[in-house]
Symmetry: D2
């Protein structure tokens, strides 16, 4: 039985463009909202990291988007967040945008946990790694 | 007893800027989300209008924003939507952004219902006007 | 003879929405681009302020937008920046968006120079005030 | 001798986030600006396509971004646009974001020319294909 984190997102005018569909860059915004809420659901707030002395945070090192079907104004899409791997400072995640069971966009991202002050990678905090694996075990 | 429509909105990285606070233009996005959800809660979907032959929709004719306090990453703000007047093609609304009871931004907008094809004002549909007043009466 | 600062801006897909016109919040982005380039043309870089120990910067205290005509994909608009007053920490500016001589949007903004660390108003640096008035005198 | 299309882009507050760097989704906006200006430099305006009866346009089918170095407020970046292949309805392009000779982001996009009304692929117009190859030959 799969327990996959999913965030529902409503499409507003701000998300669309003159072609009548969601502007392609905005899916990266949706993807980050889902990652943030997923990590928050595990008990982590990004702001604490950002306001710490050394300013920590995840940055995206790589992103891959496959656009399968367009989304439109008023659509209520869902975007999943599945962590595929965590190694050192790096997290690999897969995120699917869907609407009424139809796959719309597939996103793969590689995140790196860094000190924003030094722009240098840092091991993902042990507590977060544990929580991520714990969630994954429940999924499988 | 006041029944005021309010939409909760979470602040994500996409909403902030290098000053560490929510970028000032984004409150107009939040305001439109709240107006859209308010009108949806009354039973209206913008997309039907947009996809009709003549393409109808609200455009903003005037907006006034007073920025009282900044918002930051992870804040869970609320934004209200109160229609103050409806006359012909014009709707006046007042929207307050708040967080934990603290007022953050006050927004006043004047909307005009138009045919997007002709860019010409059209009376706000009677059914919507009725619903708006009905809601207002309940509020007072 | 008037010497009015103007920044040309091209309208891209990212700026438009499903209504086929520029999304209303984006004019505040254009307005800030014009203010930034105007101040840069006078010899000031915002980043220096932002990276100083105390992190300084302008925040917008008030904005008023009057939307007269819509803009569309590929339009080459112009946006002006005219400082109307500088007092203490406060700057009043008027900005007009136009295209081929047609006025599109009128924007009035009140800016406050603050310490971002303390979120407290600071006198606009004397050197900047001088440059602003100098520019204004040349205009009149 | 290489003649590579490059568009200079200034980084404004709107482009940055609370981490102090350019928000990752915005590079897709920059990429589209560069593609648009490149195609405009060859004599094509997207709006004509969009306003034609059948509403044509390019949509992105796939995008791949590799984030090498962050960009910051006030940076004057450059983004290139190099068409790698054109086949039927599909265009493959490579775009590099750089600043002072330092590579910041590498982007690969697959575009499909479609009828937006029917959301169906259409051969890229012959005139555009010719111009694209002509430009490429000059590059090599």
């Amino acid at each position: 039985m799969v327990k996959l984190y999913k965030l529902p997102i409503r499409i507003y005018y701000e998300d669309t463009d003159a072609g009548g569909i969601v502007y392609y860059a905005n899916y990266l915004k949706f993807a980050e909202r889902a990652r943030t809420e997923f990590v928050r659901s595990l008990g982590f707030e990004q702001r604490e990291d950002l306001e710490s002395d050394d300013k920590f945070g995840f940055i995206v090192r790589r992103a891959e988007l496959e656009y399968l079907k367009p989304s439109r104004l008023d659509d209520l899409i869902e975007i999943s967040c599945e962590v595929e791997d965590v190694k050192g400072a790096t997290v690999e995640a897969c995120q699917i945008v869907s609407c009424n069971g139809e796959e719309r966009v597939k996103i793969k991202v590689t995140l790196v946990y860094i000190s924003l002050a030094k722009m240098r990678p840092q091991r993902v905090p042990e507590k977060m790694v544990e929580k991520l694996w714990e969630y994954k075990r429940e999924v499988l």
